[in-house]
């Protein structure tokens, strides 16, 4: 391995933390979605690093499945955001409270 495994995991950890902060801080639903993509990518990076370290292909298969899941999730999520915008003219998550009353 060209770098120690710790450095790969540290990078993955940093990306995941940034993604969590994005979800917690931003009010724009689309930016929150992008932060979720960032977190999925951080997990993918950790899986690839461990797969390389243990010389096993299983981690890469999981990354493959996570990518398929991310594609499905983005399609459905963006369709929900468009439907919300069409009915409420906003994507600010503070103003969307359908379940409250």
């Amino acid at each position: 391995m060209i770098v120690p495994l710790e450095h790969v995991i540290a990078l993955s950890l940093a990306l995941f933390s940034i993604g969590v902060l994005g979800v917690l801080f931003r009010r724009n639903a689309i930016t929150i979605f992008m932060s979720i993509e960032l977190m999925l990518n951080a997990v993918n990076l950790a899986l690839v690093g461990f797969s390389r370290y243990y010389n096993s292909v299983d981690g890469q298969v999981f990354v493959f499945l996570v990518m398929a899941l991310a594609a499905a999730e983005v399609a459905v999520g963006l369709a929900i955001i468009i439907a919300l915008y069409r009915n409420h003219q906003t994507v600010n998550i503070d103003e969307i409270n359908l379940m409250k009353n």
Binding site: M1, I2, V3, P4, L5, E6, H7, I9, A10, L11, L13, L15, S17, I18, G19, L21, G22, L24, F25, R26, N28, I30, T31, F33, M34, S35, E37, L38, N41, N44, L45, V48, R52, N55, S56, D58, Q60, V61, V63, L65, M67, A68, L69, A70, A71, A72, E73, V74, A75, V76, L78, A79, I81, I82, A83, L84, N87, V91, N92, D94
Partner: protein, 167 residues
């Protein structure tokens, strides 16, 4: 050694662009910076000898997913995000503290972990497409089929959500 330098450069670009994805108020700039982040991650996959996944990262994430994001951002014609209301400040400070705590907690565990992680392996034979395809169609055949079913469900769900009168 030069390869490890490449890794650190790519890691720096990835973290920097990820920070600006979160901080930027304009969703279009966030999407473009996220593409930069995905490209540097693809480079890291290449350096970790996951060649097929590097290509998939660019095809699926930078190609398909981000184009979808850009389409939606431009379709919705969003302005700049409004500032958070006053009562949100406390929540933001608390969440920042918790995330930093999480980061340093795992970081400390990693630093103080067993020292065997530096041990390099001699040869990696699993990075090629052949090994990945073989695993996908023998050991992981059921998850592979379930993934195709998931994509079908997502397709139907998206078509339904695209109709006029819902929510």
């Amino acid at each position: 050694m030069s390869l490890s330098l490449l890794f650190y450069i790519a890691a720096f670009i990835a973290v920097g662009s990820a920070i600006f994805v979160v901080l930027n108020k304009n969703a279009v700039y966030s999407a473009i910076l996220l593409v930069v982040c995905f490209f540097s991650l693809a480079m890291i996959y290449l350096l970790l000898e996951a060649y097929f996944l590097a290509v998939l990262e660019i095809f699926i994430y930078a190609g398909a997913i981000m184009v979808l994001f850009l389409f939606v951002v431009m379709l919705l014609n969003l302005g700049r995000e409004k500032a958070a209301p006053h009562f949100m400040k406390f929540q933001q400070a608390t969440s920042l503290m918790l995330v930093l705590l999480f980061f340093f907690g795992i970081f400390l565990i990693m630093i103080n972990g067993s020292g065997e992680l530096h041990q390099p392996l001699s040869k990696f034979s699993a990075g090629n497409v052949y090994a990945l395809g073989e695993a996908l169609f023998t050991k992981f055949l059921l998850p592979f089929e379930v993934a195709s079913l998931l994509l079908l469900v997502a397709l139907i769900g998206t078509v339904y959500l695209g109709k006029r009168k819902i929510l």
